[in-house]
């Protein structure tokens, strides 16, 4: 379980996170939504410690620390138990799909080559890319690259997987194949935090939705509470602009 209290992060004079509180229970799928620049990605990056937050308090299973006094151990714990899936996939260009998945297993988790290969093959199979194991990223479509990236994150068996707009850089045709894989992972009971603009998708797979505005949580609750029954004018305005209501309601008769 992750419990974040009053997280602040600024880049020079620009305040991006302004005291964010966020709780992610084990096995929960949490969606973070909000306008561009509201701090969604920065929040994820702070959880993965790709960015160092300025202040706040983090409790994550075995560690419990104030970020201003974070020890090396705390930071390593955060890093090694969370893995990010990026908007731009960020696969290692010089390595094949299989090698991409094996890299962390061998280098970070010190598994034998044989064992790493077995695990990597299992996860490539899970994302439906067994037949592309020996392809380099440049030989894969965007959707396939993102699925490899998901396999790479899953293979390390982190406690939490963080998705940072996983479908924003994809062609519309390829979005579905990636969302299906993410859904499959969600159903397997993995704890996940997803930043996405795919509102229908968020609505469908998340247990909890958090709306971020100006680096603060404006509202949080079940997807229906935040996306459909909200009283907040700002969220109503946002939801109407991302054409969630029309498509979704018509399709599923909510």
């Amino acid at each position: 379980m992750i419990e974040i209290k009053g997280l602040h992060k600024s880049f020079k004079k620009l305040k991006v996170l302004n005291g964010v509180d966020l709780t992610v229970e084990d096995g929960q799928v949490v969606g973070i939504i909000g306008a561009s620049g509201s701090g969604k990605s920065t929040l994820l990056r702070c959880i993965d410690y790709l960015e160092k937050p300025n202040s706040g308090h983090i409790r994550f299973d075995d560690v419990d620390f104030d970020v201003s006094r974070a020890t090396k151990n705390d930071v390593n714990y955060m890093k090694s138990h969370t893995t990010m899936v990026f908007q731009q996939f960020n696969l290692f260009k010089q390595k094949t799909a299989l090698e991409n998945v094996m890299e962390g297993l061998i280098i970070v988790q010190k598994k034998s080559k044989h064992e790493a290969k077995e695990i990597a093959e299992k996860y490539l199979d899970l994302v439906g890319l067994s037949d592309r194991a020996d392809h380099y990223p440049s030989q894969l479509s965007g959707g396939q690259q993102q699925r490899v990236a998901i396999a790479r994150a899953l293979a390390l068996d982190p406690k939490v997987i963080l998705f940072d707009e996983p479908t924003s850089a994809l062609d519309p045709e390829m979005i579905q194949e990636v969302l299906k894989v993410i859904q499959k992972v969600a159903k397997s009971g993995k704890t996940m935090v997803i930043v996405s603009h795919e509102m229908n998708f968020i609505y469908e797979i998340c247990d909890k939705v958090v709306f971020l505005e100006d680096g603060k949580v404006l509202q949080e609750g079940t997807p229906a509470e935040v996306l459909v029954h909200t009283d907040n004018e700002r969220i109503k305005q946002f939801v109407s602009k991302v054409n969630f209501i029309e498509t979704y309601v018509n399709q599923y008769n909510i």
Binding site: F86, F92, V108, Q139, Q144, A153
Partner: protein, 247 residues
């Protein structure tokens, strides 16, 4: 006028020169490898800009690029003994510069000279590696050192290979100056041999052929390496073939 120019001598010189070739190759490769290591360190300092060290490397690169390699060879050859003398005087130690093999001076001077140039393209190559992959490596828990070794260097290498080849070619040619440090390489050896019959022109032609062959071999090897290193850039496989068939 029958003997103004002796064609045959150009080629008969070569076997005799071969006994000096190991020295030339030794100086070339050892200095080259040292220049890459120092160049990588300087490049990392340039990228991360630690205080103090950064200014020091900026001075070093500026000085090295601003002075001729011949002068630098003399500076090390005369400078290192002076430094040792000074240390002896200050600390009461008893280092003796004459026990240092002269090849060491040549290696130090040539590798430091080349490293200054190398640092510049190594830095550019490292900075060309996409930030996203470095972040991905961090996200899966790799340490900065592991990321450098496993992700950044292999990828930067592809970008840097042409320049690395040039650097090796330059190094091979620069070794012809090591006579200044009393090292007898093929050029110095050739001068000694030619002194016997004053056929200097023929000798320098023989030397040209040897250097030319060395640099040709280097360019061929680097050409092959370049081809091999581009594994990640293979042409895109037609992933839509299957879809097209269905449609």
């Amino acid at each position: 006028m029958a003997n103004v120019f002796d064609w045959k001598l150009i080629f008969t010189n070569i076997p005799e020169l071969m006994k000096y070739l190991p020295i030339t190759l030794e100086v070339t490769f050892i200095s080259y490898i040292m220049s890459l290591i120092v160049g990588l360190l300087v490049a990392l300092i340039k990228i991360h800009k630690p205080k103090g060290l950064y200014q020091l490397t900026a001075f070093y690169v500026s000085f090295t690029r601003g002075t001729p390699v011949l002068v630098q060879l003399y500076l090390t050859y005369f400078g290192i003994p002076l430094v040792l003398q000074y240390i002896n005087y200050k600390r009461g130690t008893n280092f003796n510069a004459s026990f240092i093999p002269s090849i060491i001076f040549a290696l130090v001077a040539l590798s430091l000279n080349s490293a200054a140039y190398n640092s510049e393209f190594i830095r550019a190559a490292i900075e060309s590696v996409d930030r996203g992959q470095i972040e991905a490596a961090g996200s899966i828990g790799m340490t900065p050192w592991q990321t450098l070794r496993r992700i950044i260097i292999p990828e930067a290498l592809v970008v840097a290979l042409p320049s690395l080849g040039n650097a090796l070619i330059n190094m091979a040619k620069s070794t012809s100056l090591v006579y200044t440090c009393a090292v007898v390489d093929i050029t110095a050896g050739g001068k000694l041999i030619a002194g016997r019959n004053y056929r200097y022109f023929e000798m320098y032609l023989s030397l040209s052929i040897i250097y030319w062959v060395i640099t040709l071999v280097i360019s061929i090897v680097f050409g092959i390496l370049e081809k091999k290193s581009k594994v990640g850039e293979k042409e895109i496989v037609k992933i839509n073939d299957r879809n097209k068939r269905i449609a």
